[in-house]
Amino acid sequence: MSSGHHSHGSYLESKGGFFANVLDWATTVDHKKIGVMYLFAILFMFFLGGVAALAVRIELLEPVRVKTTFTATGTEPVTQLLRADVAADIKNKDGTPAKDTLLTAGTRVQTHPAAKTVLGNELTSGTQVDVLDDAGKTVVQTATLKGSVSVTDPKTGAATASKITGQFFGSPDATAIAAGNNTYNRLFTLHGAIMVFMVIVPSVPASLGNFFLPLMLGAKDVAFPRLNLLSWYIYVTGSIFAVSSIVLGGVDTGWTFYTPYSTSTDADSIRVVFMILGAFILGFSSILTGLNFIVTVHKLRAPGMGWFDMPLFVWAVYSSGIIQVLATPVIGITLLLLVFERITHIGIFDPALGGDPVLYQHFFWFYSHPVVYVMILPGMGIITELIAVHSHKRIFGYRAIAFASLGIAGVSFIVWGHHMFTSMSEVASTIFSALTFLVAIPTAVKVFNWVGTLYKGSITINTPMLYALIFLFTFSIGGLTGLPLGTLSTDMHLHDTYFVVAHFHYVMMGGTIMAFIGGIHHWWPKMFGKMYNEKAAMLGAILVFIGFNVTFFTQFFLGVRGMPRRYASYVDEFQTLHIISTIGSFILLAGFLVHLSVFVASLVAGRKAPANPWGGLTFEWLADSPPEEHNFAHEPLCTHGPYDYDTTVPPHWDPKDYPIPAENLAAAGSH
């Protein structure tokens, strides 16, 4: 890193043997390498969290609430048969008693009485049958039974003419249910914690931000390169802590760690503490990243680059940096208190000891709400870049977007209470509801500006642009469905239901992740110097779009119809929608797999990327693809705005390919 020796090779250039390379990457202070390391770490965590999500979706394919169910396909009216309160010998197909220790002779089979009303109409299949023991009370079945079930009449002892082809499934007794639910709870906690703390929060800033923020500013590096590396190691340490809790048996607190549940569950185990400490440690990584970016933006802009000459991505990352610095320490002390509380049994949050669980929620959401904007703001920044570059159009309302970023960052600190409308005092709920709507204004302004930018542009549809449009679609839905949640009367119904789940997935996944993937495609040629297969990537994007909407739009319906979130099981009427949602999640998986293969193919056999494949005007397109070790051969000078497409030929582009109309230049002169 000494200023003495300059290497003019690409930053990806090999440093010798394998171990030399590993050592080089492990000790690098180059923001590009750190960005790439972050990128792969985050993608790995995304994979882990995704697996947990799929497991959750599979669990929700069917409700386990109905423990013993079989499909009756009798020839006789089953109604009569079952109503007669017969004793049944339940046998396997080969005639041996099925699980005879559990289902002894004399076990009564009784229809689900409510089914009687259905019986007259359509009891050909799908009748639910409870298997009761002699006391008429406990369900004793614990196994999955498949095969035919014969039902005998206890009076005559003869088998009735009717055969019921039965399929018993589910894990029927309460302990088994609890065990199953327990696994489910651990899975969704894992999914939530990984996706929030380890994927979405660091996703854009720590990977793409790290790589491109100094490039866009024309700087050689971030302000504190060694802190930057440290933040990556902290990230890895925190992730190891959090993920090691799975190895120890998993955590079932939910990613929100609400007290008193989180302070009392698994009281004898250290794993909850591990998960909490993991989140705590990850906070430091987040703080260091944000702090680094703020100082970089303040101090390391290229000569001639004023605040309003910065690309809007930088503005967005800068705004989210402010939130990271101001909000993260509060989650730090919260989690610290939680750990104290678990270990030494202090009672700040535990009502049994005089504390206040609602205080915990305030502590928690004071961080966790602003951090929602840490997640989405850089995503919005990416979208701004994508739309401007791929429309070759001056962004509409530059200052409005820049100030909207800052405005969102500011307002984010005074709206956290909308997560707590069902637990807050009425005065506070009213105030927070009113303030919550403030967030909608800068957000709406941004969306209008993006759509406005398309007007009279010169728009190419490729994967990044497709993702920008997908973002506009999904994020608009996510934003608009925030309205019923901010509205007090409707939130009382929708709070903690699948409506909320769908809403924040539309914002977090439909917003941040879509922008993230779009951004990766957009900057892929710059980062790795290779082009990717456009058609295949677009196929992936379409699959992701379809899968995403199928998965999550159904969940809006589920929520409005009253399906609470974090349920391992549910009442039957929700099953259809859950099945649709699960199907959607697999389409989503297919989309991601396509993307993965596109990336791998590009790295292995991609065509060499030009320095400026899309015709961008910001500084990163000035550098080589991939950039050399110190970014630029000569320090760039800011001579035009980041989006002056109508008057400036993009770097590395032939003016013949970009014939700027004379009237544009004339207008620019007068401007």
């Binding site: 089914a115 010169s458 409005v560």
Partner: protein, 395 residues
Amino acid sequence: MSDRILFMLAEQDVFSKAWLRAPASTDVARDTDSMFMWLWWFCVVWFVFLMALMVYWVIKYRRRPGTVAPKSASHNTPLEVAWTIIPTLFLVYIFFRGFHGWIEKIVAPGDAIEMNLTGARWYWSIDYPNGAQSPASTRIGAKDIPVFYMPAERSVKLRMQSQDVMHAFYVPDFRIKQDLWPNRYSQMWFKAHAPDGTLKHPVVSNDAKDEVAKALSGVPYEDHWLFCAEYCGDEHSEMAGIIRVVPEDAFNRWLDAIKNGTGTPAEIGQAIWKLRCSSCHTVDGGKNTGPTWKNIWGHEAQMMTGKMIMVDENYVRESILNPQAQIVMGFQGQNMPSFAGVLNDKQITAVIEYIKTLSDMGTLGDPAHPAGMDAKVGTPGTETKPGEKPADKPQ
């Protein structure tokens, strides 16, 4: 007004049928629904408008090779001000409308019946005004789900508390939800519509008691799910209940029916006496296997050993749990079984209360403390704790 049109749409349109599984079952919930459907149309209009513009412009202004986009405005202040102000106005309106509906949901009317609801891992229980708990339950899968009868067209206010971790009381059909904490009360109220048969969940009650069944035979009812909406652990998803709305008169009949075994302490004591004690002990001074209960409270009785013992709480308690410890003169050889494990503390206290009412030296001695005093302040079920001195001891 366009508002009105939207509300009308919200009432009957196909979209509200798609969104809402069933019509709301309370007035305030209907207000919530119309608010929601209003918001839905509001969102649809904006969304379709934005997406249509986006798609249209993307197609219209697609890139043509070798041409550069014409110079266009980088900003337009009036337009930007307009699209800041207009949404703001809408948002103000939305806030106030939501606030209005919400206030109605949280402030209970003065004539509401108050009940206590307790959430614990993982069940709900409600104490009715007469101190009884609902004996009704239905079996869903492996779990008995409690069935709570509630009067129709009558405001019911629940005072709620959790026993362990946080829970949330959520009745989707009423569109209400409120968290429960340990150690602190929260409140919620509703006034359910009369059952019209449109809402039936596939559940049935296993009412254990005949008289309960009798009280409700032929009565129309409507069931509503009660869910726990705040994550509370392993059986969070099994923590359900059923709110069964019946006409008010049927509800009152049912309430009387389930009172058996509950009620004021003295009434409970009397019921226990009927079931367990009346075969040996009379209450009218008549002779039987055991001593009569009339006028023993507060009097001294001679024991088999010749010792005189004042009949007080501790004596009665001892006699119930360990009958052979002190035997009243004249009743030697009568082996009263121990009721330890048969009667719980609450029931023993109830028996004591009942015995008091039978004595001229008991509470009747002080006319201020007649039997079932609790009932007069509307709080049956607040029995004296065992081991604690009764608050109304005459001395």
